[in-house]
Amino acid sequence: MSIITISRGCFSHGKEVAEKVGSILGYNVLSRETLIEEANQVYHVPEKELIKSIHDAPSVLERLTRGREQYISYIQAMLLEHAKKDNLVYHGHGSHLLLPDISHVLNVRIIADMADRIAFMQQIQNISEKEAMRYITAEDTNRSRWAHYLYKRDITDPHLYDMIININNMNIGDAAQMICYAAQMDSFQVTPESRQAVSDLAVGSRIKAAIENTCKTDLKVTVTASKGNIHIRAEAPSIRKTGYTNPKTAEYVKETMKQEISEELAAAIAGIPDIKNVVYEIVPPSYS
């Protein structure tokens, strides 16, 4: 009983390994595409945007509007719904970043030589070597920029993974066997604490997604959950004076907005199960 995440560069045979692991252990295999489809249905956002959000590095405008975080929160919420049920193999880059700090998650990264990746891509898509190389290099840069911007992590850093497999030196079956062996070790079995961690993360990300889906996008929201106790911190952006302002009026404006934000948040999360208590920390807008 564990969760396996397989992170890989494109055309590094990650999908094949994941499917093999799934069939050996009888685990449910989940791909990024499935999550995107589910998020599209639940949160009614275009698939195109969801794909972009988990794939491309954000543009300058998106960094300002924080559109990316919004879409990623939907995908993360969907992934955690699956994670709650255990016995899962998820393959998609950045997968380990979406399921942080859970002891029964085995994080694997599969790497392959560039020449092998190029050959594999050429074989599938029937394109020139140059084109394949250009595509793979661009893709690698994009993915690493994505993780760097959103999670401040370098996805090629070995410290992020429990195990790294160089697929060049073995076949897919061997790689899958190694992963299955590791997944069955005691270290990666579910404990009451790790189950609680998944459930906290799941409710937290569902709340975050609900807030992102219904509240104004100007809010910077962080949600932490611990045994059903939810802490929501919402930070309003700073505002600029359009003229002089009596301090009393400024205070009134801040208080009014604080009140409105708390009502907005409460309405957004109404009906989400597993919430015991909610503590709101609302930082009203300040003058810049």
């Binding site: 104004k216 004076k241 359009t242 002089y244 404006v253 208080e255 409105e260 807008p285 003058y287």
Partner: protein
Amino acid sequence: MTPEMVLTMIVLVFVITLFVFEWVRVDVVGILMMVLLPLIGLISPKEAFVGLSSNAVVSIMAVIIIGAGLDKTGVMNQVARPLIKLAGKSESRIITLIAGTVGVISSMLQNIGAAALFLPAAQRIAKRVGLPVSRILMPMGFCAIIGGTLTLVGASPTILLNDLMTIGGERLEPFGLFTQTPIGICLLVTAILYFVIFGRFILPSAGGESDKGVTSDLIEAYRALENIYEIDIPGAAGEPKRLDALDIQSKFLVTVVAISFSAKKEKTFVPRSTDQISPGDDIAVVGRRRNVEKMAEELGWQIKPALEVFAETLARTNAGMAETIVSPRSELIGKTMSEIDFKELFGVNPVALFKGNRIYYSGLTHIRLQMGDTLLLQGPWERFHILKNYPQPRALTFSTPLEGEILRPQKSKLAVFWLAVALFQVIFIKMQLSVALMSGALGMIITGVLKIDEAYRAVDWMTVFLLAGLIPLGIAFEKTGTAAFIAERVLGLLGEPSPIVLLAVVGLMTSFFTLVISNVGATVLLVPLCMNMALMAGGDPRMAALVVGLSASNTFVLPTHQVNALIMRPGGYRTVDYAKAGAIMTVLFLTVELSVLYFFYGV
């Protein structure tokens, strides 16, 4: 290029960086300039603090104090009330009245204050006539911003102009309070027409949030009391009856909180059990909708769809509910409310009593109070503030924050008088703006409209230090010849534009800068530069300064400007709504501003 010019340019780049990245707040940048400029020798230590005694700073302090005086006496509410009654049901009339009034008020007072004052009324009207509130709030917000262009003291950038208008060591003729008014009026009219004609196409029809506040939260908490209802006692309702004879509270769990006696043309907001209700009267009640309906049906009364007679007096801005707790050592402990004549004593209506695990809605006045009992009271905010200011040991402790404040309506005529005195000096004696306005402010303080401490508390120190700190920067920019130097280079690039084309460029530039950096910052940086450019191109430098000052209010595209931020949630707007409606407004603003200048100001 002289060494001073190089130094000034370094400082300018530094300041612009600080403005754009906002590592420190804009007013701190101002204070930084007061210190940095004399330290590096760009201006003398004496010049460093001239900003604090400038016309702009003193005028802004005086205007804020005058505004606070008008606010404290409730003059603005008195203006708002009849206007709101005029609004009627037509969308264009509502928009014109509300947005127009807010615009006119912001011509002298803070624009955010005007918008905040009319926000609840706008929400209420929208609800009453069934119009999406989003159609009213954005016109109101935009007009509040535009109102700032009606007079020189309407917004901080224009107040600053007279202090910055020095060119080649020579002071230019200062602007009067109303020099810019024709432009402001045209802008305001344009904005209103824009929303009246195109509002339905560009504004979302989201309902937004309703007029909520502490009161509705409390009502939710008590659940049983859902709303305040106004009820009409029809002519056919029979004989006049005393409240205690009707026994409404114990029969229907409904509390009467106000009566309007039609015969005496009087209203009471603390109805007593001995008061008589006669046919033709109106009453306001608090209670569960179901119970109110039952009562109306049984007694043959009619529930009105919305507050009418009590629309203003029981509006959220004037009256509401507060939750209070019987304090330890309270004089109320061990007594019943009827024994101490609670309503008479405190002037508020007890609506519910939370005692132990039970909530009582009827017979409250006969229950003996204990420490820690919670009383839900309804009444005017003013009464609550008086109650809260009682000396210790207080009878009741407030467990919810109070809205509103204690007003001095008896001083409202004096407040208006002193405003008139200030304006008279400006218009007829041509007195310097700061002196005229400060004398009005002083008059208000001396005649007790406002206490001096209240006046001090009203001043916006952020804006004061922002202006005072940036004025020396503007002086240095001009004095060192840096402004002229950059102006020459820019003109070299532009060729030889005609004055109106140059002004259009100035307007565009300012509108862009004011979106990215503080409007005052944009003004200080652009006024010396644009005046020099205008002079070199054979135009009028004063008009260039005016275009900068006015265009600095061209802030409609982003929700980050305070008035836009205030109406964002109540109006249910998204960022894209501002971008859409604001972009057109920005273009209209520039077009109208430049056209009026071209045709009427001899550009």
